[in-house]
């Protein structure tokens, strides 16, 4: 073989090796958006669920195995959020890289301070509770940035050649959030102290960030439809407390939450909780915008 051809071939090989993107799969679209933000053009990202789906109950369709079999990095919320569908997919993906404990398996909850870890006895008499704490943590900008940083760290381990790029992307993403922070904080001010009722225990982190006062839950026991007695008490309690909003995530059926809101003299706020919840929510800043706008619109 002529030296020139060898050189050309090795150059070609080198460039294709560098060009091969890190394949990232995420359990929810918000994490996919974060991975795209920090991964840039060095990654190829796919979400296993859609933003308009309930992340507790995704059908473990076999086509998700096809995605997972080729994944280099799997990012999931953990805290048993995906326990009903993700573990058998990971086991049967035949992909060593994403098995629990491997570098390609990233439990994003390790990046954040977990809220509402049950203390004392944990029993399913309390409903379908999350014994390791509340997994709905990605809807505050601080937690999202923590997760983004964790993803960047893991990408740097998997693709050291891109370390500088991941660092720069993370800083750019952080700057993007910081630039929006004053506007978000301004909107948050008018929500501070607002008394709300939540449908599912999904809004603990959001309520803490915004200073919302969650006085009750429509789902008395998570995952179990409320009984009428609880609803009557909740409506009375809400009236007495002066509840202004009933918050429900956009993928839930709204009929019960709507009737609680109507009877309690409150407004229903349908909250998008993931990127992709509606076609207009394409990235993380748009998600926070949409959440705050939904709250402000219902509270006004």
């Amino acid at each position: 073989m002529a030296p020139k051809t060898t050189l050309l071939l090795s150059l070609l090989l080198a460039s294709t090796a560098q060009a091969a993107p890190v394949k990232v799969a995420t359990s929810i679209e918000t994490f996919a958006s974060l991975a795209r933000a920090v991964g840039g053009d060095r990654v190829e990202v796919q979400s296993l669920s859609r933003g308009y789906q309930d992340p507790h109950f995704v059908d473990a369709k076999p086509n998700l195995l096809v995605v997972l079999s080729q994944t280099d990095l799997l990012v999931f919320a953990g805290l048993d959020l995906e326990i009903g569908w993700l573990p058998p997919l990971v086991t049967n993906s035949r992909n060593e890289r994403i098995q629990p404990g491997q570098r390609g398996s990233l439990d994003a909850s390790t990046a954040i301070d977990v809220m509402e870890v049950p203390t004392g006895a944990v029993s399913r008499a309390q409903g379908d509770i999350h014994p390791r704490g509340n997994p709905h943590y990605w809807i505050t900008p601080v937690n999202a940035l923590k997760v983004a940083k964790e993803i960047a760290d893991r990408l740097k381990q998997l693709d050291p050649a891109g370390a500088a790029s991941y660092d720069a992307n993370l800083q750019a993403f952080g700057a993007q959030l910081k630039a929006r922070a004053p506007a978000w904080s301004e909107k948050a001010k008018s929500l501070k102290g607002l008394k709300v009722v939540s449908y599912h225990k999904s809004f603990g982190y959001l309520a803490r960030w915004l200073g919302l006062d969650e006085v009750g839950y429509v789902e008395d026991k998570p995952g179990i439809p409320p009984d009428p007695k609880h609803l009557v008490e909740l409506i009375e309690h809400s009236k007495a407390e002066g509840v202004k909003l009933v918050m429900v995530e956009s993928f839930y059926n709204r009929s019960i939450a709507q009737s609680v809101a109507d009877k309690a003299g409150a407004k229903l706020a349908v909250i998008p909780s993931n990127v992709g919840a509606t076609p207009a929510i394409a990235d993380y800043p748009q998600l926070i915008d949409a959440i705050l706008d939904a709250l402000l619109k219902a509270a006004s």
Binding site: D59, T110, V142, K146, A181, N253
Partner: protein
């Protein structure tokens, strides 16, 4: 030692209160007071500025202590009260036996099945599951106990132990993942009361196609004493073999289709008019081919309601080679027959499901399998994900004295039971 780890160790062992210098490294307690104007920007800045803790100190949060390395343990109980006018044809082993094997009219209660499950990761290379069952209080059975690889290259997975074959769709499912209280007639008629399961090995391959395609090859040593009508008629050294293919398509955001194909071959039991044939006799060659489909319509979320609909159907076609009766030595001609079922299950409201199933055997008929049909209907409520109550009615069709029965099931699951495949 990595300086970061050293720092972390020092910090952890330092009994004095942390110095003011180390304070900013700690994320502020968001819970203390709601954030005001610039707090968010400051917190974001801190997240960016802080070095990540060494990854060795991070692990998924979970229960500490004795539970850490124990397998997930679950118990699933299926209790039934009911009655029938005659013993149903082709009862499977995990169907409710309301009369402890007696033939006639029955009214009673039974613990249809108690399942004890252990599921765990073995090591970085294997996972293992063991499911012990007690059907109808008739002794402990090993329904499944197998290990499977998680990291073979090129899309391969090896499974070995006692397990349910991937033949068809219902055979692989445990009782509590079925929508009806009686298994389809083709289960006991073609695969035997226990279904096609036994000590075996399976090699499966996930094809590198853009859609889901899984091919599997299995061998089983089916014990002589199992009442298998198609296989199990050979000595342990002549295993039965099964090949299956499964594929799946998303047809839009709400509709999906799973298709399966099965081919199996082995030896059928020796025709024996007297029941005294010695067990070492090898039976005639047999083979079975089948197809199954699972078509499901379900919206991606519950905003517009909880309704979903699933159609499941399977067909088996079987051939047993000509042979001779072990006692009389009279020739027995080749047997060719088939059977099918189709079921439609709908979620009609949150927690409520209803379904119908039609079973048909003798398609075509043979001397072994005659024409028989059964219609079943069920209605169930699941108070939570972990319990359900089901009323089921069944009735034989086109028979002079049709079988019929009614049963009420209470099923519950306690402990940690792994999620089920689609």
């Amino acid at each position: 030692m990595n300086p970061l780890i050293l720092l972390a160790v020092l910090a952890a062992t330092d009994p004095t209160p942390s110095s003011p210098n180390s304070e900013p490294a700690k994320p502020p307690e968001q819970g203390a007071q709601p954030s005001g104007g610039d707090d968010l920007a400051r917190e974001l800045e801190q997240v960016l500025a802080n070095p990540s803790p060494p990854s060795a100190t991070k692990s998924a949060s979970g229960p500490a202590g004795s539970g850490l390395l124990n397998p997930d343990i679950s118990v699933i109980s299926d209790g039934v009260i009911g009655g029938w006018n005659q013993r149903p044809i082709f009862l499977s082993g995990d169907d409710p036996d309301l009369a402890a094997g007696a033939a006639g009219r029955a009214l009673g209660l039974t613990l249809q099945e108690l399942e004890i499950g252990f599921q765990s990761t073995v090591d970085p290379y294997f996972i293992a599951n063991a499911f012990l069952t007690i059907p109808n209080l008739q002794g402990l059975e090993v329904e499944e106990a197998y290990a499977a690889t998680t990291s073979l290259p090129w899309g391969f997975q090896l499974k070995a132990g006692v397990f349910r074959s991937s033949a068809g769709r219902q055979n692989e499912q445990h009782l509590h993942t079925q929508s009806f209280s009686l298994r389809p007639l083709i289960n006991a008629a073609y695969l035997g009361p226990d279904g096609l399961r036994g000590p075996g090995a399976q090699l499966s391959w996930l094809a590198p196609t853009p859609f889901f395609l899984r091919l599997a090859a299995e061998v089983f040593s089916l014990p002589h004493d199992a009442e298998l009508l198609t296989f199990g008629g050979a000595s342990r050294y002549n295993p039965s073999a099964v090949a299956t293919a499964k594929t799946f398509f998303d047809l839009g955001s709400s509709l999906s289709l799973m298709l399966g194909g099965t081919f199996a071959f082995g030896h059928a039991p020796v025709p024996d008019s007297t029941g005294i044939a010695p067990p070492e006799l090898q039976g005639p060659r047999s083979w079975m081919a089948g197809g199954d489909l699972y078509l499901k319509w379900k919206r991606p979320n519950d905003v517009e309601g909880y309704f979903w609909l699933a159609l499941q159907a399977e067909y088996f076609y079987r051939h047993i080679a000509p042979s001779a009766d072990a006692a009389s030595l009279e020739p027995v001609p080749a047997q060719l027959d088939g059977g099918a079922y189709a079921q439609l299950v709908a979620q009609i409201a949150r927690r409520w499901q209803a379904g119908v199933r039609f079973d048909l055997l003798g398609l075509p008929e043979s001397e072994l399998i005659h024409r028989a049909a059964r219609l079943s209907g069920m209605f169930q409520i699941a108070p939570s994900e972990f319990s359900r109550v089901r009323l089921q009615y069944f009735r034989g069709l086109a028979a002079a004295a049709p079988e019929q029965g009614l049963m009420l099931l209470l099923e519950y699951s306690i402990g940690a039971h792994g999620a089920h495949p689609y």
